[in-house]
Subunit: 347 residues, 4 copies
């Protein structure tokens, strides 16, 4: 049994890790920390876990965490980067769900996160945990930085187009929308049900922190600088991300939609968690609610020069905790879908 520790277990990615790991046959959660809730039983805070865990939150204790095989950080940014060096030194594997190790350039990180990086020396070794592009490095990694939720949906939707060089990298648009759980379990007026229900809005258009992460990933894949216009929106629902992606074909008319469909199907043929829908159908977030799948489809409206890709994930699963478990499975040589065969909750 793999001994698992979780740092910061009172947020939504924390409870989601616990939900998934409750059905993971080869692992056992031995420690879950929270300064604020230390001493309180997990299932008091999260009654869906009743009967699955006989465990309470504990104060963060590096020794206990270091005794685990794997430690997940389900914390806001600026926590992991202080604790990770010690855990790595102790030989523990670390899977960070926060943003601390996603951006390779410490300078750029600081610019977007407003403070110096606390362990910049680890950035080069941290592996970006998107299995669809980095499976081999993840298998060998000691530190994996799980992608953000928007980045996961957007990158999976664009990878085949950018790898193949079929679209202009300098003019890509991502109009994406997220359920409210993406904003975390924090007491803010803007996230109240009375503020969010029955309404829809864009936010962060001036510069969302996921922008540099996405541009970094896509630029590496395409071999040239990708310039993305990224507009996130807030949906009146809890779970799910839908990204609608627009790219200009380099040679419109040369590729039919059938060609592109084939390109995507081939690219993702062996991926257990990326599912290219039949041409003409549209992904809906509910089909992947609670599931680790990304479902996507694509079109060339009016057979003009713009290709549209629609990509959906559950932001808490493939966009966070599910992908983290997928990374753990890869790192430990377990079957990649262990604990992740959850069928989407539809309706």
């Amino acid at each position: 049994m793999v001994k698992v520790g979780i740092v910061g277990g009172t947020g939504y990615t924390g409870v989601e890790l616990l939900r998934l790991l409750a059905q993971h046959e080869d692992s056992e959660v031995v420690a879950i920390t929270s300064r604020a809730e230390a001493g309180r039983r997990l299932d008091e805070l999260f009654p869906n876990l009743r009967g699955y865990y006989d465990l309470a939150f504990s104060e963060p204790d590096v020794d206990l965490l270091a005794s685990c095989d794997v430690v997940f950080f389900a914390t806001p940014h600026n926590v992991a980067m202080h604790l990770v060096p010690e855990l790595l030194a102790a030989g523990t594997r670390v899977i960070d769900l926060s943003a601390d190790y996603r951006i390779r350039d410490a300078e750029l990180w600081s610019q977007w996160y407003g403070e110096p990086h606390a362990s910049p020396e680890l950035l080069a070794d941290a592996v970006y945990g998107l299995p669809e592009i980095n499976r081999e490095q993840i298998a060998k990694a000691q530190l994996v930085a799980c992608p953000g939720c928007y980045p996961t949906a957007i990158e999976l939707g664009l990878i085949p187009l950018l790898e193949s060089g079929l679209v202009e990298p300098s003019n890509i648009i991502a109009s994406a929308a997220s359920g409210t759980s993406g904003a975390g379990r924090q007491a803010k007026i803007d996230n109240l049900a009375s503020e969010v229900s029955g309404s829809f809005k864009a936010y962060g258009v001036g510069g969302h922190r996921h922008l540099p992460e996405i541009e970094q990933c896509l630029s590496l894949l395409s071999g040239s600088d990708v310039s993305l216009t990224f507009v996130p929106h807030l949906l009146p629902m809890v779970r799910g991300i839908h990204a609608t992606l627009f790219a200009r074909l380099n040679k419109p008319g040369e590729q039919s939609i059938e060609d592109l469909q084939r390109l995507f199907e081939n690219r993702y043929r062996d991926e257990p968690f990326v599912d290219v829908l039949p041409n003409g159908t549209f992904p809906q977030t509910r089909a992947v609610k609670g599931a680790n799948h990304c479902q996507l489809s694509l079109m060339i409206p009016q057979q003009r020069d713009t290709v549209v890709v629609m990509s959906t994930i559950d932001n808490l699963v493939k966009g966070a905790s599910g992908q983290a478990v997928q990374n753990m499975n890869i790192m430990l040589g377990l079957p990649e879908d262990r604990g992740l065969r959850q069928v989407g909750l539809l309706p």
Copy 2:
């Protein structure tokens, strides 16, 4: 491997059976019928099932169904009662999720369902599939009538009180509320998102078809006629039933809330799917979303003479397809929670 057939697989209880059975190690769905969708792949209608089933809907075929070990009816009422006799004759076990065999009195059935019963001779042998009261009979049954969704929530909330004779059976009130999936996957204006979202209303107050079923079950348990005032309401959400139950204590003041709490905990101690919450907490439907659990709690407001029980289930799981699978497990001698260890999807 248990060979499973499903009649009427295009509704919400059908897709929910498929979701649960996809994770049931000991069974395999070999036939799923639908006249309307015959020939169409399951996952075309229900994209959450992609990757889990390589199967299409088929025309109802009694021979094929009769070759199954178990057949589920996920149909509206008035379908099973015509087909079941033939399946039973062939030795197939039948689990009916519809109302056809829930009421033992054929006369009463006809009165509420507006037509004569087609196989009244089976009513005496059909076992009411609430494992918490009928586990042994279910284990031996060939025909199980799964309780309705409201009845499950209401009965589980009242069983300890009525069995113990602590409350007046003639004056019980159930104010219950259901998500929209309880109304089924049928094209009706009243169930449109534009009609239901952001609104709440009672319905069926004059007489909901679940009333006689509940009164029959509770009267048997209490040994005297139970008279229930039952008001269902429609919630602006998809899944979940919450029943708020009011009963008058026979001897107010003699029982403390602690006594009642102990009564409930003892009654359900060994039940894998009924969970009595600590006193002072309130069940919320999301804690059991997608799960087969009933969570409940109770209070005596102002220490007066009325006990209030709050009982929550997912109407599609413990209120329908999950309970059906639980019954199958019992009938076949499988572990009762096989395929049913789904943690509630919270948030």
Copy 3:
């Protein structure tokens, strides 16, 4: 033009007052206070008001408020009771939307609100602002205590039954449900969209602060002690209260549903904002969304001995700010529906 002041304008009852008063031809808002937002334009916080108000929040200033004809308190409890004496002394009329003057017994108030009342000498003169029972006193009052949201819905549903003595006052049940706006515009985890959406639960069963207010009002009307079992629930939607009320007929069989229907219709014939629906129909909260109406209907299920009343309001309108404006109109001799002819927003 009536000069209006509003104390505490940053909550939902504050913005709702502003929405209604924007269409009130005879009044003008001259001051709206908020310590936290002083100096900020109203329409910056509430963009729906753009074009209707050229006004900013100001620090509370008793002189400015005292110069108004009417001052509304749209504050949490424990604010009005400190400021009102000074305003009354200055001759200003006060309409308090908070709980400070709803309960006549200062002892009882303190017991439920956890602190001594700051101006108990005013309790006897404060008029309970439910026009359907107190219209004449309201017209002469200088201080009106607007009823709570649940109390409004519940009292309007029970008044005809208790005034007429047709039901047992000692055994009344109110199972009520409210949209999230009833919890106010405060940053609390429990009220996050991610916590509330797609879920339903009871709360405050042990003792909600609206209980003594309702029992006081109904006991006065019935002439004997009313004992209410009150269970509030939280709905996954923003606006609306639905109360489902259960009372035992004193002489079951003597009154038909037609008799009760007539009783209700006669009682509310001249009420501009209480609407008894035709027998057999059910009120839905959306029909009164944004409107000052209470819509209600009633039944005697199975012609037994329990009468069920369903009563709906918009908690922010008839349950708070609309009723406050209605009271202002009455106090000032204006047409009672001035500013209140808003048709419910359906769909």
Copy 4:
């Protein structure tokens, strides 16, 4: 008093016309037709109208309609085009909320709507009812074709950019999302609450019928062919459209966001129903819920070469019935905001 007739009053644009006209001082609805509901009182179908109309639906009767001053068509497409000629001949003014007269080219109309146009001779005289570009022609028109809901939001967001020639007309992207009421009051499985709630998806990407209407309008304004990639999405909420628009600046770097802000503010300075929000804020659909306003804002993310405009309306008000009333007011020389001073219902 203006005598108003409404053809097809049982849909959502019909009930919304009734809601708005209930507060319109200068008009009176004298006839509202519905074959399906003839004889039934309006307020039986739409209980929010109780107390406002003492009227029943009637069979369509051309003579009665012809006796009205104005007739609104709140019908699906393919109804108005058969009846309008007769009404115009009788001198009645017609405001068509359907698509029948929006596209000037009968050939193009047939291509998108799948049948020949029944009165193509009227297309040249029909005025496209977007007051912000056609106010003078509307004032003189006898037949006004109200824009679709998506077109209204999208066109208002793009007009200043295209009129000024600042962006490339050949590469414009509209990623828009609508509440469910846009799909109408029709019994379809896809629009059930259980299908739509808690989920989000794109649809109609291959070619939505609003595409040619938008391209026609914008091409006229820009003086060259506008090519639009239009992706509509379905929101889990009832009312509201949010359009997120992307256009490439012809001379990036030459215009600052302040220049564009000024351009928009100047263009809409005198428009009563278009509201340019302060730079840096984002429109939210709830701020215009129930209101006839369009609120919009714009940004140039990362100061690159793409301008993003966000535009919000209530699809049933400015996107349909409110705009229709606005057109009526203009046609009849009434104050343009008569009946339309509804403040958005926030929260």
